[in-house]
Symmetry: C2
Subunit: 296 residues, 2 copies
């Protein structure tokens, strides 16, 4: 049996993730209704599900079973969605549009947006804690998720981003910010997907880290290129926001064409990192291609 | 050797918790400086540490070691502190004073307050994940912490609280709100402290749950009494806030004296729940007394 084509596989994973998130989220009929409804409003029915796709692709490489992968994917996506809800709030980016819909504080109110994010973060850890995996490995996975979400990861990157508005960042500083803000959660999605399959040897973890670092950075470079070139309808969020907010981007530091060339170089680095895994890493390779070649 | 007097014990635990939090928080010298400084500003040097005291008292009953208890106490206190930081924000209670100091969004800014809370929640799970305990039990503990912090616990109670402003809640509805908003984290502090010692039998867990339910409710009743009778300087936060915000309280529903009588009744229920544990539960009994008889 040959593996399904990549686009069929991504659609299958996205459907599976949608089903899993629907099952992991509290029902809107349960009290408190508004909180649960808003959690479902912002989590379900949208998003590229890049982190879950990375987890499934890495899981496929290490023989992870479907139930464990659904929990890993649900957990990383909930952390991601909570970060979007909080980032969109007026005291942060003050954005009204996300995934083509009004943001939570616009559709509901600020207090609900705050609570939706807080609750999704707790829910992410609850979902992962329920995975049927060897406990010692599961503890390791929960620790990695907490580190990736915290001040040495996503939140730390967000704080550096806030502190950088209006500053002329050097390229290395911009890179460090993105390694934390976006890269840490992309990396942990790959690693947790792999750990859902089995324990990893040091060289396997190192290869996955190289891949994740390249893909994570490429993701951000492409985001900056799209923010500068695509329109809001295509992106499902407000385009041109970074320039308007005077935020440093790869396009503002390197220029448009060098940014595109950098993304392509990172795509090749991601492929090279996967060489030890042979054909089994096909989905991870295709994901690197998707991340660099996407139009939204 | 006799056990130290209760007041000496609480001081010793509070010092130990302060040391533990100081060690578990990222140093202010690490990037991002402002985030780490604000996390330390709001977490260190204040607070009654009620949840850590409950964890240590329950841990003493089940032979927990000091290092594991420090992680449990650090984790529950970080969750508590994050909830205070977010609750104080303008879109929630809009409070300027907490633990006798300006709140985080006043001392820093709203975006920092949002990130401080988000980061402390992640950090709590990271701290607990680092406990040197049997992995299967530790996974159970992390799951319980996530449940207590999420929509079936603290965040859910907060959402019900928000939805109740200006409504004439019945006593049972008020009780349900507090069981989630405050009770869930108090309960999990007791249970995690005990689990830091050993696995619990069903009847032991049931006894601890009865104790926690009584203490949790008593805590809130006394909070309402103090909010109505003490001044801001004594409380270290804005007094009379609930009445001014038109929030339902035990005092507004039952009246002042019946509220005091209820607190005393709950104190006795907490003692009764501990009967199966004999003298070893002395610290838990004394904590119930402290919670009911406190003046701030």
């Amino acid at each position: 049996m040959t593996a399904p084509a990549f686009s069929a596989w991504t659609q299958e994973v996205q459907l599976e993730v949608e089903r899993a998130l629907d099952a992991f989220l509290p029902p809107a009929t349960a009290v408190p209704h508004k909180l649960h409804e808003a959690m479902r409003y912002t989590t379900l029915g949208g998003g590229k599900r890049v982190r879950p796709l990375l987890a499934y692709a890495a899981g496929a490489l290490f023989g992870a079973d479907a139930a464990a992968l659904a929990r890993v994917a649900g957990a990383v996506e909930m952390i991601h969605v909570y970060s979007l809800v909080h980032d969109d709030m007026p005291c942060m980016d003050d954005d009204a549009l996300r995934r083509g819909k009004p943001t939570v504080h616009v559709a509901y109110d600020e207090a609900t947006a705050l609570l939706v994010g807080d609750t999704l973060q707790a829910q992410a850890f609850e979902v992962l804690a329920g995975a049927d995996l060897p406990p010692a490995r599961l503890v390791q996975m929960m620790r990695l998720l907490a580190q990736a979400a915290g001040s040495a990861g996503m939140c730390g990157g967000q704080a550096i981003d806030l502190d950088s508005v209006g500053l002329a960042l050097k390229r290395e500083e911009l890179e460090r910010m993105h390694q934390l803000k976006t890269g840490a959660m992309l990396r942990v999605s790959v690693v947790l997907g792999a750990l859902a399959g089995r324990d990893l040897a040091a060289d396997e973890l190192q290869a996955l880290d190289k891949y994740s670092a390249a893909v994570g950075l490429a993701f951000q470079v492409v985001d900056d290129v799209l923010d500068a070139t695509a329109d809001s309808a295509t992106l499902g969020k407000t385009a041109g926001k970074d320039a308007a907010d005077n935020k440093p981007t790869y396009v503002s530091i390197l220029g448009l064409e060098p940014s595109r060339a950098l993304a392509e170089q990172l795509r090749r680095e991601a492929h090279d990192a996967l060489a030890p895994f042979g054909d089994n890493a096909q989905r991870l390779r295709e994901l690197a291609d998707l991340i660099v070649q996407r139009k939204a």
